[in-house]
């Protein structure tokens, strides 16, 4: 491998800044599909192993019987520049893994809530979560074959979000559509959130 620059500069590697966007939504709403549509790598899956206490305990050194449970997280990657990498994380579909959402939401740039109109209620928890955490989000209505074509207005009424939350129709399988969703989110973050001022 030809290396430009000096090999001596150990410890001065440029480590890129990582940012993340969450892709949330109910079970089977198209989260992994959307990540795959824009990711430069085949979506990866990582695991968090959790100990499931059989009794309510508050002492982690307790000796109660425990079993382990695994939460899988899908994610993809988009290299923005030498200095910035964007990761897209699908949130775990199962509600019992809410604890994982806390870590996922920390420092997230924003979130996409995929709404599947065949079972819209499956995205309500995600909307509640991001509203309460103050995580900026957009709602992407993933139009499945055979699903009724609800209008944006109907979806907004049902979800009950203010006019400031963008809602757009999407097809998670389409790269262009997935890009539109992400662009809408980042523009929303830029217009509605006051970013930190340098210094």
């Amino acid at each position: 491998m030809a290396s430009v620059g000096s090999e001596e500069e150990a410890g001065t590697e440029v480590i890129p800044l990582a940012v993340k966007i969450l892709i949330a939504g109910g079970f089977g709403a198209g989260k992994t599909t959307l990540v795959g549509s824009v990711s430069e790598i085949t979506p990866l899956s990582t695991e968090e192993v959790m100990t499931e206490a059989s009794l309510g305990i508050d002492d982690l050194n307790g000796v109660e019987e425990k079993t382990t449970t695994t939460v899988a997280l899908d994610f993809g990657r988009i290299t923005i520049s030498d200095g910035v990498v964007l990761y897209l994380f699908g949130t775990p579909g199962q509600d019992r893994f809410w604890f994982m959402w806390e870590e996922l939401a920390q420092g997230a740039l924003g979130a996409v809530v995929l709404a599947d109109t065949r079972r819209l209620e499956t995205c309500f928890h995600a909307v509640d979560f991001f509203e309460r955490r103050g995580v900026p989000f957009v709602i992407a209505v993933n139009r499945f074959d055979g699903a009724h074509a609800y209008t944006e207005h109907e979806v907004r009424e049902a979800i009950g979000t203010g006019p400031d939350v963008p809602i757009l129709m999407a097809d998670a399988r389409s790269r262009e559509s997935a890009k539109d969703v992400l662009i809408t989110l980042v523009e929303h973050v830029m217009t509605h959130h006051t970013p930190a001022v340098t210094g």
């Binding site: 090999e7 059989s54 997280l73 923005i80 209620e121």
Partner: protein, 146 residues
Amino acid sequence: MHSGENRLGALPSRLPRGADEGAEPQPGDSLPDAAAGPLVRPYTMTGGRTRPGSIELDLISVVVAARQHVEQGTLEPEHEAILQLCRRPLSVAEISAHLDIPLTVIKVLLGDLISRGAVLARAPLPTAQPPQMNVLQAVLDGIRRL
């Protein structure tokens, strides 16, 4: 192919649920398998070490192998595997996925390497403040270029 008539009224509405105010979604909140008990992180898997060194690593903390040598033989095979993998900067999540080792364990192994100076880490943005405008603009441009 059934018609969509009468389907419009079928969209459920979120806000009436808000009647039970203050109902923060919680792990196991009103869920069928809530009876299974709370989930906690398996600190015991890593010899009780919960803090990877002094730096708090998260999913997207980016790490890279330092160019200095660590004496062979003092590392576990998993440590070596991590060093091999992160010759180029990689996130904690990617290392975990590539090596098929759970995140919690990877964080501790990375902590070992960081404390020996074998791996350098860059923490993600401070969680308290939103990303700076120039970062957001770069992300926006990057997505548009896809």
